[in-house]
Amino acid sequence: MTAFLGPFLRHRLFWPVVILVGLLLLNLVFTDNFFHVEMKDDHLYGSLIDIFRFGAPLILVSLGMTLVIATSGIDLSVGSVVAISGALACLQISDLGNQNSVGGVLSAVGVALLLSLVLGAWNGLLVAGVGIQPIIATLILMVAGRGLAQLITQGQIITINSSPYKLIGGGYWLTVPFGIIIVIAVLALTAFLTRRLALGLLIESVGGNAEASRLAGIGSRAVIITVYTFCALCAGIAGLMISSNVSSADGNNAGLWIELDAILAVVIGGTPLSGGRFSLGGTVLGALIIQTLTTTIYSIGVPPQTTLLFKALVVTIVCLLQSPAFRAKVFHRRRRPAGAPPVAEEKVRVSA
């Protein structure tokens, strides 16, 4: 039995999948028809669809974050970019004579994403060009970006009423929530760039050993600027989604703390913070776990004042279960010589 399950147990994504399934089953106990998906007015409805739909912005931000972390960097500014992008788009739409004009909405979206790209390139330049440590470099935009978002909204919440814009975060296309389609498209694009083209290899190389990569002729500066720009673009799209879903832009609260959830999603997905190997599939699972957890907290009726504590506890357990060293300690305590957990050796260099 163990021999048969071996390959599954050792698969990198085994534990994230177990945790996600566990959370979903937990919901089944508390919510009737949790797994039920139905068609209403030509739209897909159901709790599972909602998890995907509300989790879409987080998945996007986490995808960008995965590439940044793979270069052994980190991007704290994604939450601010979310706010800026949503604020700029909403500001432009609110200035439109006809808020339902598709052309006007498209140009607003374009300008917001363009600004996101510029902000990402700024982060990349600070990290790769100036040589500031990533956590400090992106902290600048994390703090300043909130101010920029408020400058755009002038401290107000901009409310709009535009049906084309509403499509991005709240609409449907071919019965599927539009946000899910965007996520799938971005995921496909990311997978194409990194796995079909060679960007992934170069990113993993830079994250695995920056100096060796430089001496192998990799333009690590360009690679790093690319990933920060890409990360900000993902955050920009997420910002559009969030503001579109509520038809308003809130410079203060949009995307607040999303950077932390995104980093968590990446780590749960099995990409080490030290950089190197990354897993896009793992990150998507990680983001889904976090979103499912949030849904679970509401559905099982945890009192609002303890939700954060509850979430922290679950996340701690998830991270411990994810850790090979912890599992080896707890589950293989008395079987060391025979059980020889291969996981404990992973960080050790073999040079026989």
Binding site: N209, S213, A216, G217, R336, P337, A352
Partner: protein, 503 residues
């Protein structure tokens, strides 16, 4: 003479890695007060045996007895507490901490929980002076040469109350006088009854210091011998399982070349690293660089590869003046560089053999033009078999390979680029006789094929055997450039290195 009871006895040790049987039924013993050499080619299982002994790995089969009691160490720390200390092949200290902190890390002298810094520095200085090393112990370890760092690691291991001291290639980065110094220390420890397990690829050193040796091949025990009863030729035969003839086949010194100049450095220099030097490398020519550790050999290579910026002078490649601002630019001019520091500057340990091999080619093409997977597999399998990389599994993580095989992976990475100038910085350091001969033969073949090679090595015999021309460095200065004709001998080279003038 009756043998004392072994202090350490290992029986039937087996260790399996994914896809590799690293050790298979190996017996090993250590007697008190002896220096015992562990011999074998790269990948024979030496390092694995050591790591099993010191608790870095678990064993899959067999048993370990220390002073007659069965033991199983869960970590290197546990082994250390039991009296087994190790100095690894590549310095395993914290470069950002001071020398004193490195020596006492984890066992700082304390009073009421506070670290007594003064006491610590005093004891560190005393300890090092016993090894005849006089340095400022409060300076960061990184400010010292690799050789000094190595000695600090040994000082640390010696100071921990060790009964078994394991030295895994401690001499690979030391020069001759430092080796002599180390051997003095080893003999003193031996007199105190400490058992020393010694690993080195330098046969002369083994014969100078070791009393007894155990030979491994492909993870299996070949046998245990007294050093005095086994000749060098027999030893090599047992290690590689074939005759030594391989090494001899390269006889006949290469002749100087009359080919167009490929690389012309004129007054190229960088302050603090290397004084301006002038050097011409012709097509198909092997230029050797000789000199002591820290004499500027690596610095010359780094300037020619654009790894560092040149502060002065000009560089022409193929007649065209170039300013190499980055390695990327050098690679575009078909210059390749294998760093001596494989771990820090060469390989990406988390990536596979295949990925490490295609890395430079992919970087040169840019990420928008991926190398088709089939082409990658072709290239990789060609070089894995041509260079005899073991295990021959392209999807194995490169960190799971032994030192010599990692070196071959580095070579393969550059060879698929078909460079015009290949710079090899200590390509044979820390690798075994068989692989060394393979690499030397490869260099000769490449140069016959028209590739220029800059060959840097601490072993003068090797430099002489391969080079058409030898540049001698001393105190960060290129002091002589000598054609390798019949008159040049290792003695003459040594003389030049020592005196700084061509004889």
């Amino acid at each position: 003479m009756a043998e004392p009871a072994p202090i350490l006895q290992m029986r039937g040790i087996g260790k399996q890695f994914p896809g590799v049987k690293a050790l298979d039924g190996v017996d090993f013993r250590l007697l008190p007060g002896e220096v015992h050499a562990l011999m074998g080619e790269n990948g024979a299982g030496k390092s694995t045996l050591i790591k099993v002994l010191t608790g870095v790995y678990d064993i899959d089969a067999g048993e370990i007895e220390l002073r007659g009691a069965r033991v199983a160490f869960s970590s290197p720390l546990a082994a250390q507490h039991a009296g087994i200390s190790t100095v690894y092949q590549e310095v395993n200290l914290c470069a950002n901490l001071s020398v004193a902190e490195n020596i006492f890390i984890g066992r700082e002298p304390r009073r009421l929980g506070r670290i007594q810094w003064k006491e610590m520095r005093r004891r560190a200085a005393e300890l090092l002076s016993r090894l005849e090393i006089d340095i400022d112990v409060s300076a960061a370890l990184s400010s010292y040469s690799l050789a000094v760092q190595q000695m600090v690691a040994i000082a640390r291991a010696v100071d921990i109350d060790a009964q078994v001291l394991i030295l895994d290639e401690p001499t690979s980065s030391l020069d001759a006088s430092e080796v002599a110094q180390l051997f003095r220390v080893m003999r003193r420890l031996k007199e105190q009854g400490i058992a020393i397990l010694f690993v080195s690829h330098f046969l002369d050193q083994i014969y100078e210091i070791a009393d007894r040796m155990t030979i491994l091949r492909n993870g299996r025990l070949v046998g245990e011998y007294l050093t005095s009863e086994l000749s060098q030729v027999e030893l090599v035969g047992k290690m590689i399982g074939r005759e030594l003839a391989d090494l001899e086949r390269l006889e006949g010194k290469p002749m100087a070349r009359q080919t167009p100049a490929l690389v012309e450095a004129d007054g190229l220099g960088r302050s603090g690293a290397i004084e301006p030097f002038t050097l011409t490398i012709h097509e198909g020519e092997v230029v050797g660089l000789a000199g002591l550790l820290g004499s500027g050999r690596t610095e010359v290579a780094r300037l020619l590869f654009g790894a560092d910026h040149a502060g002065s002078g000009t560089l022409r490649i193929g007649g065209e003046q170039v300013g190499l601002r980055t390695p990327r630019a050098a690679i575009r001019h078909h210059v390749a560089f294998c760093s001596e520091n494989r771990r820090a500057e060469g390989l990406v340990p988390e990536l596979t053999v295949r990925e490490n091999i295609v890395l430079a080619l992919q970087a040169a093409r840019g990420w928008t033009r991926p190398i088709p997977r089939r082409r990658q597999d072709e290239l990789v399998s060609k070089y894995v078999s041509a260079l005899n990389i073991r295990p021959a599994d392209p999807e194995q993580l490169v960190r799971n390979l032994s030192g010599g095989n990692q070196q071959k992976v580095m070579l393969a990475r550059w060879l698929i680029l078909e460079p015009r100038l290949l710079i090899l910085d200590e390509p044979t350091r820390g690798i075994d006789v068989g692989a060394k001969a393979e690499i030397q033969r490869l260099v000769a073949e490449l140069s016959d094929g028209g590739m220029a090679v800059l060959f840097i090595s601490a072993e003068l015999e090797e430099v002489l055997r391969l080079s058409h021309k030898v540049g001698v460095l001393r105190d960060r200065k290129l002091v002589a450039e000598i054609d390798n004709d019949e008159r040049l001998t290792t003695d003459a080279l040594t003389e030049t290195i020592a005196s700084g003038a061509a004889s």
